[in-house]
């Protein structure tokens, strides 16, 4: 079924966009490195492949005049998801170009910002690329070389988005979301494990103790919040 395929592809694009954002946030800080630049490059390429695939799929689906109203509404919703992802990706790519230019890695007088982040981001990149471990094989001057590629890719993405706008007539404000407020809490995510040992960042924060039973109580609370 076209819808399921679309959904999985969109999920993949969504995942890659989120990971890309995390990587761009680390640019310019003390966790910046050759590896990070390479991770950015690879994630970007993957994102673009997914974007093109998504676009062709969705355009063909939306151009089809013989689909029912509910199907059309569903495809429009998926289209809005896709275009929002692309917007985020485009902004992040432009920002990574800007920050990458401001913080070249090889210049000794140019210091990286001491943000307190010192670890590597290879796990994030591995998640984006859906691999177990990242392999690093790029040259040592990737930070300057990559920027040129990045510029061309940004223009490509902008062009693609303009084409998208022209070809497909979708009114984004007419789309009704399926998720209600507080939907992110009712997920099958294991919120529990990560917060064991969560430390208070400052004295005002309460120490969070994660108990699985709490989630049930709070699910009720979110339903109240929806009203």
């Amino acid at each position: 079924m076209g819808k399921e395929e679309c959904k999985t592809m969109l999920d993949a694009l969504n995942k890659v966009t989120a990971c890309y954002r995390h990587l761009v946030i680390a640019l310019g800080s003390t966790s910046d490195s050759q590896n990070l630049r390479e991770e950015l490059k690879k994630t970007r390429k993957k994102a673009q492949e997914l974007a093109v695939a998504n676009r062709t799929k969705l355009t063909t689906l939306l151009k089809d005049k013989t689909i029912s109203k509910e199907d059309r509404a569903e495809y429009e919703r998926l289209w809005v998801l896709f275009s929002s992802s692309m917007e985020l990706l485009e902004v992040d790519m432009k920002r990574s170009l800007e920050i990458g230019q401001d913080f070249p890695l090889k210049v000794p007088t140019r210091h990286l910002i001491q943000t307190g982040m010192t670890g590597s981001t290879n796990a994030v990149a591995a998640r984006a690329m859906s691999v177990q471990n990242m392999k690093y094989e790029a040259d040592s001057n990737i930070d300057t070389v990559d920027l040129r590629d990045l510029q061309t890719e940004i223009t490509q993405v902008s062009q693609m988005m303009e084409e998208m706008e022209m070809k497909v007539q979708v009114a984004p404000w007419a789309v009704v979301a399926k998720q209600e407020a507080g939907a992110e809490l009712k997920s099958n995510m294991s919120v529990g494990n990560s917060s064991v040992g969560v430390i208070s960042i400052c004295e005002e924060d309460l120490f969070l103790v994660s108990i699985q039973g709490f989630l049930a109580v709070l699910n009720v609370k979110t339903l109240q919040l929806v009203n």
């Binding site: 999920d11 969504n14 995942k15 966009t17 989120a18 990971c19 954002r21 995390h22 946030i25 640019l27 310019g28 800080s29 809005v80 998801l81 275009s83 929002s84 992802s85 917007e87 902004v91 432009k94 800007e98 920050i99 210091h111 910002i113 001491q114 943000t115 307190g116 982040m117 010192t118 670890g119 981001t121 796990a123 994030v124 591995a126 988005m161 706008e165 984004p172 007419a174 789309v175 009704v176 979301a177 998720q179 407020a181 507080g182 939907a183 992110e184 809490l185 997920s187 995510m189 919120v191 990560s194 040992g197 430390i199 960042i201 400052c202 004295e203 005002e204 609370k221 979110t222 919040l225």
Partner: protein
């Protein structure tokens, strides 16, 4: 394509006043130098150790040393960097100030630096709130909850995307090591404290409307662009010229006259309310105050315009004119101002009223203007508009300026006011009192109420309008005739 930020994005981006951002970035980079930069220390949190924490006093000392300024100024500079979002506090994260003690701060990552090029998107804020909702398990702060509901309502079409992204970003963040995760949470939270300040926080990024074009980009050379250059140069040629010695002399004279009255250049008596949070200065200088301050009265002597533009000065002048029985001039001038600045609906009526009261033959408060001006005015009044009485008003204004103003400054009314004028003592607040003043800040009277009061006053004055001399004389002569036969008693 979605409509980005339909509510707040007016398609305008650039505001020159934010040039401080580039300068602040340079300072930030200097601070990073391992030899000459700010000393950093590790922060200990239960079991984890996070590097690159800096103390407030170190920052202030570094700034004072680098720019050769005193500690107070370094402290303000540091607070500015924190308010802009380049450095964020680790404890007490909602108060964006630098404390000159061992409280810890950290540098913000370049992605979260404030910049005008990349407007702060509501989509990002929605994703952040959703992530926070997950982390805090549904318990958001009050203002965050309100924002969340508001965004959910107007950004509803994107809400699926927001939820999906929030979950993915949350999962991606978990892939990093524990210290980096903590740092990332702090960074993101600090970013949103600056750009969506909680109630009671002052963020420096609140700079008002943006300009339409970036003043630093090159403009495209269209024919229209060259047309504009041509018009500009033609107008420059036709502009009247003044010798620089004359214009500079005027500037020097103006600066010398007004420098004592400028609150930036000299002390404001009793104290500048913006600095000490004490509103005595404003209450002493209100428009309907009985006894003005000496500085205010001095300003009335600078020029006639100053006297008229100050409401208290105008009242004094009106009193003087009443004694001289030439109040109609000022009343006419005020009527003309009212016509110029009033609503279009009432214009016709007002113009007629003014004509009947001041300009018509045998009017109760007839003003003395020359024949030519009268002719022009009467002709114009057939089709009245806002500026129909301009010529007459200018004539009367020059009359008052050349004649009455000089006599006013020598009159007993003015001398009396000058004698009674007060010169308030300067306040000397210490730190504790300043903080107390800051806590006791109260909003002033609403401008709506002030305008109502002004209107009431004006109505009262119109009711007790002073009669002019012809009426007084006719009344006296009538009285004399009545009392005539019995007068000898």
């Amino acid at each position: 394509m979605t409509i980005r930020n339909a509510l707040r994005d007016h398609g305008q981006r650039y505001r020159p006043r934010m040039a401080c951002l580039k300068k602040a970035e340079k300072v930030l980079l200097e601070m990073q130098d391992p030899c000459t930069g700010v000393k950093s220390q590790p922060q200990r949190l239960v079991i984890t150790i996070i590097p690159h924490a800096i103390t407030g006093e170190d920052i202030i000392a570094w700034l004072a040393d680098r720019f050769q300024i005193d500690a107070q100024e370094a402290r303000s500079f540091g607070s500015m960097l924190v308010a802009l979002g380049y450095i964020y506090p680790l404890q007490d994260h909602k108060r964006l100030v630098i404390k000159p003690d061992t409280s810890l701060y950290r540098f913000q990552t370049p992605y979260f630096w404030p910049t005008q090029q990349w407007p702060v998107e509501d989509t990002d804020y929605a994703i952040y709130l959703a992530k926070r909702n997950i982390r805090k398990k549904g318990i958001l702060e009050l203002h965050e909850q309100e924002q969340y509901n508001h965004l959910h309502k107007w950004m509803n079409h994107k809400w699926d995307f927001v939820v999906m992204q929030a979950k993915e970003q949350y999962r991606a963040a978990k892939e990093r090591k524990k210290p980096d995760r903590v740092v990332f949470d702090c960074q993101e939270r600090a970013y949103w404290v600056v750009h969506r300040p909680p109630p009671g926080t002052v963020s420096a990024m609140d700079y008002g409307l943006d300009r339409r074009t970036d003043p630093n980009t090159d403009e495209t050379q269209t024919p229209d662009y060259y047309e504009r250059i041509m018009i500009f140069t033609q107008q420059s040629i036709m502009r009247p010229r003044v010798k620089s010695s004359v214009s500079i002399g005027a500037l020097v004279k103006y600066s010398a006259t007004y420098s004592g009255h400028d609150p930036f250049l000299s002390k404001c008596l009793p104290s500048n309310p913006w600095l000490t949070d004490d509103t005595t200065y404003w209450t002493l200088n209100m428009s309907n105050v009985e006894i003005p301050t000496k500085m205010r009265v001095e300003r009335w002597t600078f020029s006639f315009k100053e006297l008229l533009s100050d409401p208290r000065g105008r009242d004094d002048f009106r009193l003087f004119l009443k004694k001289e029985f030439s109040g109609e001039n000022l009343a006419f001038w005020e009527g003309c101002e009212d016509l110029k600045w009033g609503t279009a609906v009432a214009m016709r009526e007002k113009a007629e009223q003014i004509y009947k009261t001041f300009l018509a033959r045998g009017a109760p408060r007839w003003i003395n203007i020359d024949g030519k001006t009268m002719e022009i005015t009467v002709k114009g009044l057939k089709h009245p508009h806002r500026y129909v009485l301009d010529a007459a008003q200018t004539h009367i204004y020059m009359l008052m300026k050349k004649d009455s103003y000089g006599r006013y400054l020598k009159s007993p009314v003015f001398k009396e006011t000058l004698k009674k004028a007060i010169c308030p003592e300067e306040h000397k607040f210490n730190e504790v009192q300043l903080e107390q003043n800051a806590r006791n800040r109260r909003p002033s009277l609403s401008p709506i109420i002030i305008r109502q009061q002004e209107q009431e006053q004006r109505a009262k004055m119109a009711a007790n309008a002073p009669v002019d001399i012809t009426q007084v004389m006719s009344k006296l002569s009538k009285q004399g005739k009545e009392m005539g036969p019995h007068h000898s008693k």
